[in-house]
């Protein structure tokens, strides 16, 4: 079973994502800010991280650096309400950039594609 870490400061959103991805057959953990996400990546081997950008304590872009420093081969999907970062995500080392949308199929499709499912 593929392991996914969801990172977002909105706990209701995390819950929705968690339930949706579990239905798709993933094992899911959550974190509510960048710092917590980095700690979890250190503790456990995840296949993929879904990362929000705007978060308190440590934002997604900073966390992305630490996460990739910890685990080079981990896949990262940036998931945010801002389109303005879209030009840069590849240079930061993320694998996909999905705008937050009530249609979750796009996010699910991106995750499956990155995990070769």
């Amino acid at each position: 079973m593929k392991r996914i870490l969801l990172v977002d400061d909105d706990e209701d959103l995390l819950e929705l994502y968690r339930e949706t991805l579990q239905e798709e057959g993933f094992s899911v953990d959550t974190a509510t800010n960048g710092r917590e996400a980095v700690e979890k990546v250190k503790e456990k081997e995840y296949d993929l991280v879904v990362l929000d950008i705007r978060m308190p304590e440590m934002d997604g872009i900073e966390a992305l650096g630490y996460i990739l420093g910890e685990r080079k081969d981990i896949k990262v999907v940036l998931n945010t309400a801002y389109a303005s970062y879209k030009d840069n995500f590849l240079t930061w080392g993320a694998d996909a950039y999905i705008l937050k949308s009530s249609d979750l199929s796009e996010l699910v499709a991106a995750i499956k594609k990155l995990l070769c499912l």
């Binding site: 909105d10 209701d12 959103l13 929705l16 994502y17 339930e19 949706t20 239905e23 705007r54 309400a81 801002y82 389109a83 303005s84 879209k86 030009d87 694998d95 996909a96 950039y97 999905i98 705008l99 937050k100 949308s101 009530s102 249609d103 979750l104 796009e106 499709a109 991106a110 594609k113 990155l114």
Partner: protein, 443 residues
């Protein structure tokens, strides 16, 4: 004065007064030449004026009769009407084109050819090369030197009367040259000043316009910032509402009555999301997430959103998009394109109108067309309609179609507006074809 002919010092002072009241160059030149040819003035038959323009002296004005017959007629008329010099000078400025004035414009002499002649000195019959231009060897050459510079030269002759030039008081003529030179200097300065003033006024107007547009942009930027913030705050809640609606719909039996209600929630959330996207203007720097998309479902999505409105307005919609066609594009952005075009079509055709959305396959692209039965786009608006802030509607910023064009351009496509067989406008979007499967989601 010493038996010589021409005006005396009192006449000259009067002429001087008249010349100085002419501020405009053209009027000044006209008066200068008239005083030379008038009987009460120097009484020359013809007078030609060349102005210094850079390295050249160029013919500017040439006044006088064009032939012996003309001369006889004019002089007889002047005699009869008893027009005074003052009257003649006042009437100056009525432009009369004749052979002489045309000929004057063809004369152009390099200043080096006149070296040694450009001083405060009247010469008779020199420089010799002028006799060819004038058609006589008897002429007066008068440099116009005001305060310092030679601004022009005058050539005057008596080609018709044959009167000897030597009979004119050369001292007075030299004095006149200085007066005329000063008048021209001043008129040139005046012209220059006026041009300068115009330049300043133009610069001022431009600055005002710029200020105005800067203020408008600033207002829009502030508005944009505020709306982007609001949009961001609303996005997560919408994702949660829409996402859970989907979640519940999947849990319910397909035939369950509540499914319909949930669909309405889903549709409404989608509509809000698209409205937010429009509002926040985040399309400014978007780089789309391209993939192969089923064209039919992109169109179906937008029709779903607009469905209730179209139904309410009793608009007949024909969708002729075959299944199985794929385009290369970003789903959210393309939905935005067709949503905008369809919304415009609905507004254009109004209650009871008709909309037809159809597609044509070309070699490497699809043409997707949204046709309506509205009033159509005016010919003069066709060029303007895709520019930002253009709008024929009373509400809205006029950004809709400019954003649409931006998106289509970003897809490597293009958009055109034509006349529709339904009577209204036909917005045709050219999009590159997609591949077989959905690939490169990240790119």
């Amino acid at each position: 004065m010493g038996g010589k002919e021409g005006p005396d010092i009192r006449d000259l002072l009067k002429i001087d007064e008249f010349l100085h009241s002419a501020l405009e160059l053209d009027q000044a030149l006209c008066r200068i030449l008239t005083a030379l040819t008038a009987g009460e003035g120097f009484g020359f038959n013809r007078a030609l004026l060349l102005l210094r323009k850079g390295e050249y002296f160029e013919g500017e004005k040439w006044i006088g009769p064009v032939s012996h017959e003309d001369a006889a007629r004019i002089w007889e008329e002047l005699e009869r009407k008893k027009i005074t010099l003052q009257e003649m000078l006042e009437q100056c400025g009525e432009k009369r084109e004749n052979v002489l004035s045309k000929k004057a414009k063809e004369i152009k002499i390099h200043y080096e050819k006149l070296q040694g002649y450009l001083e405060r000195k009247v010469r008779i019959g020199e420089p010799k090369f002028f006799s060819e231009i004038l058609g006589t060897r008897e002429f007066a050459f008068l440099p116009l030197i005001g305060r310092e510079n030679c601004t022009g030269i005058i050539l005057a002759d008596n080609i018709y009367s044959g009167k000897k030039i030597e009979e004119i008081d050369v001292n007075m003529l030299e004095f006149y040259g200085a007066i005329a030179g000063a008048v021209i200097e001043r008129a040139l300065l005046y012209t220059e000043l006026r041009k300068e003033k115009e330049r300043y006024e133009q610069a001022y107007r431009k600055m005002k316009e710029l200020q105005e547009s800067t203020r408008r942009v600033e207002r829009l930027a502030a508005l944009g910032e505020a709306t982007a913030m609001i949009a961001h705050e609303l996005r997560n809640p919408l994702v949660i509402i829409g996402g859970y609606t989907d979640y519940i719909m999947k849990k319910l039996e397909p035939g369950e009555k509540l499914q319909e209600k949930l669909k309405v929630i889903k549709r409404t959330v989608r509509r809000l999301e698209l409205a937010l996207m429009n509002l926040s203007g985040y399309l400014k720097d978007v780089s789309p997430g391209y993939r192969s998309l089923p064209l039919s479902s992109v169109i179906q999505d937008t029709l779903l959103i607009l469905g209730p409105e179209m139904e309410k307005m009793e608009i007949e919609v024909e969708k002729e998009i075959p299944e199985g066609l794929t385009v290369w594009g970003d789903p959210e952005l393309l939905r935005h394109v067709f949503l905008n075009l369809l919304k415009n079509a609905v507004e254009a055709c109004g209650r009871g109108g008709r909309i037809r959305i159809w597609c044509e396959e070309r070699e490497n692209e699809f043409v997707v067309s949204v046709d309506d039965s509205g009033p159509g786009v005016k010919r003069e608006d066709v060029e303007e309609i895709f520019k930002p802030f253009f709008s024929r509607k009373s509400s809205g910023l006029g950004l809709g179609l400019s954003i649409v064009k931006k998106i289509v351009d970003a897809h490597g496509g293009r958009i055109e507006v034509k006349e529709s067989p339904l009577g209204g406008a036909s917005f045709q979007v050219y999009l590159p074809k997609g591949g077989e499967d959905e690939e490169n989601i990240a790119r």
